[in-house]
Amino acid sequence: MLTPLKKQLSKIVPCNFGVIDQKGNILISSDEKNENILPLVDDILSSSIFPMETSSYVISKIKPYRTNIFYFYLEKKVKDFSLVLKLLSVMTENFIKSYYDRYDRAHFLRSVIQREITDVNMRKKMSSYKINDDQQRIVLKIKTIEKTNHSMETILTNLFIDHKNNYIIELDNCDIVYIMEADEDAEEMAILAANDLIATIEQELLIPVVVGIGKIVTDVGSLADSYESANLACEIGGIFELEKNIFTYSKLGIGVFISKLQKEELAQYLNMIIDVKLFSKLDEEIIRTIQKFFENNLNISETARKMYLHRNTLVYRIDKVLKQTGLDVRNFDDALLFKTAYMVKSYMEKLNDNI
């Protein structure tokens, strides 16, 4: 966590320096081998007088955060080393403090999205952390199958480093939540971010990820809703929106209702709108074609072009669907029925998969 600090200080401090934590771990050090400071660590931890001075070092004690204690050491090779030590200690203290503040805020938001905090407590913490309640936000859930030892979090932190008011939260399983502030075009911004993070994670770590984008919310208390909708999008998005790795809650449409129905209800509904046997007989080529036809907003020319099909072939396939199912997917109403039936059927498959 202190590496950026070390980078900054290395540029200005001409002699050895470093930070030790209260357990005696050397967190950063300008001298990789630490040969001069290691023998002093025990003395530092047990000393009661600060700044402490040895033959070659001065050491200060910092308490940036709650009960955590750190020590800053500086080689006495600079002029006015006492003053320099004081200045560097203040810098370090601020650095650590802001790190923990951010960490605390993330911790707080994590309890908010998981509904593990009372309203009263939430209000209190919001004001102490200076988190603005009146702000549009959107939650992204990043789902993967593998534990990555914080690599994923590190990547996201560095990727979105410019967005100081956004938070990256690691959950207990392998998943990560990204809370974004976004005023205009929140969903588009979220999709852009999702594209960037998927490409980066897949390229750097070679693990597949999917992202669920939750609903846009306008206050901190509703973040849990946004998180839940992002979760739902992750869960069922793949059933209703094929070949994507970004699933947006607002695009799930009737998928949300379908996912709330019981199996029996689904079967009943399916029977009501369509002859299931005929429907199941449609071959893959037809299904594939109709999917693309829907993706291209029922535009025959566009679909034919994208699939590199002759227009007549496409029309022929659409007619075949009409013959087999009685649905003319060129018409909006029939297209809707077909799509719904298809969604219900896929969802039922999913339920079967899970048993």
Binding site: S151, T154, I155, N158, L159, I161, D162, N195, D196, L197, I198, A199, T200, E202, Q203, E204, L205, L206, I207, P208, G238, I239, L242, E243, E284, E285, I287, R288, Q291, K292, K306, M307, Y308, S346, Y347, E349, K350, N352, D353
Partner: protein, 374 residues
């Protein structure tokens, strides 16, 4: 550096995800150091194939080998591959050096090694002078190179690239195409490259795999694929403007083979006859294919190809500078001819057009397969 072998690979997505068989019986042996292009329209299974080779997608059946090792059960990160996508993002606060080094740091590569690899990659990409810059201070092309650099520093045996240029504007895309060809020469590594753009495929690939609906249609080097397409689909997909097609019929009089299209009879030359003559094709319905540049309006051709000269009604003449595209109707079929820019053809004319029969294609009407392939 490695060979990649894909054996009888299938991919069927789960029923709850549409249940589509995205890739069927894919068989291919990709040579070490090859620049192999997977080409085909949207949805034909290119990305799925690439992700299966990477291990980012499970395979339903079959085997994949990278450098002699069966990798079916090997994690992507242990497959010695690197991916490059059309999307990429750079870490905004990091220098170019750190952007390239970051992945290696995550994998705990020793510092000296990182330094060596990043400098080597930067040298190959000719961005050594940019190593201290932040992404903000780079041009689009330079950023794309940094993204490539990230893949290069992994020193993979195989690069897997999924339409890496498709987000770029036309000019930059053209430049990067050349860059990638150079890069391949310098890296001396196997590259598997996915695109739907036949120009990219033709210019970059040492071999092209043309796909359709999850099936391989043809695997050949670009020129062979252009000159001898295996079927109507490949013939139409490769080349712009597209190959012209017309329904036709074969006549075999025992000595010669003729193609009858409308009221015209075209005599086939020796080279195009050999798989047809005396093989029982007389009367067979076929699809005739002619590339726009195999049509000629110059007198020398018309004089020397009397057996394959037809009439054409000119509809539109598009002057393009180095050439003219002439839209015309030949025996009731719309065709495009690529003539010299000094063509005299004008809208409304009926002109004589000589067909270069050495470059005529004939496909079976039912199977759409080429009747002859050398």
């Amino acid at each position: 550096m490695a060979k990649v072998v894909v054996k009888n690979v299938y991919k069927k997505y789960e029923p709850s995800r549409g249940g589509i068989t995205a890739v069927s019986d894919f068989n291919l042996s990709i040579e070490d150091k090859e620049f192999l292009v997977l080409l085909g329209p949207s949805g034909c299974g290119k990305t799925t194939t690439l992700r299966m080779i990477a291990g980012l997608e499970d395979i339903t059946a079959g085997e994949i080998y990278i450098g002699d090792k069966l990798v079916n059960d090997v994690q992507p990160k242990d497959r010695d591959i690197a991916m490059v996508f059309q999307n990429y993002a750079l870490y905004p606060h990091m220098s170019v050096f750190d952007n390239m080094a970051f992945g290696l740091k995550l994998r705990k590569t020793p510092k000296d090694e990182i330094k060596k690899r990043v400098h080597e990659a930067a040298r190959i990409l000719e961005i050594e002078h940019l190593l201290d810059r932040k992404p903000k201070a780079l041009s689009g092309g330079q950023r794309q190179r940094v993204a490539l650099g990230r893949a290069i520093v992994r020193e993979p045996k195989v690069f897997l690239m999924d339409e890496p240029l498709s987000n770029l504007d036309a000019k930059l895309r053209g430049q990067m195409r050349v860059e990638l060809i150079k890069l391949h020469q310098r890296l001396q590594t196997t590259i598997i490259y996915v695109t739907h753009d036949q120009v990219e495929a033709m210019t970059m690939g040492t071999r092209i795999v043309c796909m359709r609906l999850g099936f391989i249609q043809q695997v050949d080097n670009p020129q062979v694929m252009y000159d001898y397409p295996a079927n109507v689909y490949v013939a139409g997909f490769i080349g712009t403007p597209q190959m012209n097609f017309a329904d036709a019929k074969i006549r075999d009089d025992g000595k010669n083979v003729y193609i009858i299209v409308g009221n015209s009879t075209i005599k086939l030359p020796e080279s195009r006859m050999k798989n047809i003559l005396g093989k029982g094709f007389d009367g067979r319905e076929v699809i005739m294919g002619i590339r726009p540049e195999a049509l000629h309006d110059e007198q020398v051709y018309i004089d020397s190809l009397p057996d394959s000269t037809v009439n054409a009604e000119v509809e539109v003449v598009e002057m393009l500078g180095p050439e003219a595209l002439v839209y015309c109707v030949v025996e009731g079929t719309n065709m495009i001819a690529r003539f010299k820019p000094n063509t005299k053809a004008r809208h409304g004319d009926v002109i004589k057009v000589a067909i270069d029969t050495e470059r005529l294609h004939i496909f079976d009407k039912d199977t759409e397969k080429a009747l002859f392939r050398d």
